[in-house]
Amino acid sequence: MSAAKMTVSRREFLADAGILAVGFTFIPRLARAESLGEPAGALLAPSADQLDSWLVIARDESITVYAGKVELGTGVSTALRQIVAEELDVAMSRIAWVQGDSTLTVDQGRTVGSGSVKRGGAQLRRAAAEARQALLEMASAKLGAPVDRLVVRDGVIAVESDTSRRVSFGELIDGGRFERTISGRAPTKPVSAYKVVGQSVPRAELPAKMTGTHVYVHDVRLPNMLHGRVVRPPRVGATLVSLDERSISGIRGARVVRKGTFVGVVADREEDAVNAAKALVAKWNADPVLPEASRLYEHFRAQATTTRQVAQTGDVDAALRQAARVVRATYRWPFQMHASIGPSCAVADVREGKATVWSATQGAHQLCAPIAALLGLPVENVRVIFTEGSGCYGHNGADDVAADAALLSQVVGRPVRVQWSRADEHGWEPEGPAMLFEMAGAVGADGTIAAWTYDAWTPTHGSRPTRDPATLIAGRLAGVGSPPGPFAGGGGGDRNARTNYRLPNERVTSHPVASFPIRTSSLRGLGSPQNSFANECFIDELAVVAGVGPVEFRRRHLTDPRAIAVLDAAARRANWQPRSSSPSRRSGGTDDTLAGRGVAYVQYDRTEAYVAAVVDVEVRPDTGVVRVRRVCVAHDCGLIINPDGVRNQIEGNVVQAISRTLKEAVRFDSARITSLDWSTYPILRFSEIPDAIDIELIDRPDEPSLGAGEAATSPIPPAIANAIFDATGVRVRDVPFTPERVRAALRR
């Protein structure tokens, strides 16, 4: 498909966007894309193989890039801009950025799995290189000089020997388009020539974020817009028995919308919608469907009826039989939340058989189909426009709230903005799965691991929306799509189930929990933090049996020089002193604390970024309070695009991982989730953060870039657990390490 078939004209888009009461900063820039002048038509994404789909150069020399990958707060839109600016030889300030619009941007796949720089950046680099090549060929003809005699400088191409013979990108394009297929053969710059890539370029959107002018999805307002709120069942699996609409008759302009078990309210003013949602009297019916929290892991075992062999090498059973001593350990991880600071929000305008949805979704293109099915519209009549939300850290409520807004808007025939309450967010976001691990292993006479078995039980880590509208809460409650049943989904729990250690006799088995009444899905790193917790704690336990220090013991089982390099760098950075693996039980800074340090190493997803961490903790035996004082991280994500951006991601991963390890567990009873605010789901506060996070970035200019959005989470939980062991001599194996648990473990 050529760009000419590209759907809604960008002119039409301007008309749409122009009605936003709050101006989008990109609208004036987009006006420059008008020169494209596509005919109006179906709302389908531009084709990835056409250069015009990716970037538009206007007469005024401005450049607009259309990226499918979106800014989720990680700074990736700045990194991607650096890649384009570098390859195109233009100043970054001239590049306007349009992202995640199902009609205007190429579908680059969801913005997930730390893939935006690695895969999305590679696509943008190819497109920019193709554009540069095309412009050089045009300039060659115009200036009468061969391409290899031309130089490009900030959007101007000149003859090298006589730079007065020059022509600008805008003059060459002259309001037209490239009409060129991306060959993939356009030369890209050698890394040695990079000027922008590799620099800590400040993030483009931060001045607006610091001054309140950045437009989040929460800030989108349309004329004639109503405010909506959802009224969710109070118990998991409940059905609606009755609804008393008169209960909100005293609230100005408030109106109830009901479809099946889906209930919402709308009002002209936001506070009226909030009050109506609180006041609405509804009767619900439900039997308790959740297992007792104390029996959760037994429930997992009972529900897991199939197994998956992730890895099997050598003869594990024979090795265990022959072992002088078999070490066994059980580790547990609870349900955790994304816990975004801003509850999920979306704005939808569904009228005259067309739907436009402003959403913080990770997949604008992917969200069109289930929304269309929910509304009973052809998919080409649905357009989803990504608008940044609060940080999501994976599959949170962004898609669901978009469906809520769309359904409400369709019923009332006006634009509707829905923002979830805090309790909606905590109680209805897709939770990060709990996991259970059973490990067994043995150390051979040579001081290396002779046998290693891993068994893990987990519900799904992937229940993102498919084409089926029942994969969205609104569709499910409204009874649209597949019949209700337990939420199912794909895998993701196996991420880092197998280590990268050289293990001659190894068996890694996963036991998927077929279904669980609470919906679970992708939380930053999917199974990687949990699996790494079990694996990296267990290797520490085996090191004790081997009588070898934890850094040295890991080193013995690594062959990849990049793995060894991060481990050594973290140890060096932390001034790691070679020691035996037995606990040091050092006194902490004060008389009543014990100090310890732990190490862990993970290569994210076994093929992505390498990370090692050394964590220093202080433990108060009387209270059980664990404090992480210092974290040293060594991080290798290949070619670094923006060092400060990578550091910011590492720091964020570390702090969030400390929070998950020390504090976070979703509480629930037999009927519902009971962690519904920040007092029942506490996260790390300023008073609890480490004194320092000391980072060593290992740049590998000759290696492809790898993602940095998730990797540094994984080694933190085990490094903390190993540090607690070093401080106290006690293994803690149940996350989170709350004061009560640690105190109890120390008394055992």
Partner: protein, 161 residues
Amino acid sequence: MAIRIRVNGSEHDVTAAADTPLLSVLRNDLSLNGPKFGCGLGQCGSCTVHVDGVPRRSCVTALSDVVGKEVVTLEGLGTPERPHPLQQAFIDEQAAQCGYCINGMIMRAAAILARTPRPTREEITTAMSGNLCRCGTHLRILRAIERAAQRTAPAPTGREG
């Protein structure tokens, strides 16, 4: 009946119930998007504004409570072109990821620095502990506050003493 309030130095007549959360009025009636809805419970701090110079959670502050008082929002501190020293320090330290909590961080920090121009790190962490950040940008936020304090506070020359 309209209620008159003073925000960022200007008078505004707002037609809303007296018990309407100030946050709702600031955002929806005055289009001031700096303050953010985070919890509606006064637990997270992302809606923080100043009322007569004191940091307040606007999600649990009634419109009628600020009549006759001076409300200042993030927009009242500075603009992208002319940022407040704290806003500039946050930019310099790249002290945000998603930025949703940042309104509360800057407003809270501005109140701290107004009272204590050269706070210790412990004073800052204690005062900031009621504000939640999920991206884990805490250390950058602390550095930004310290940077702003160094930039704006009078040098301790001891001349007054």
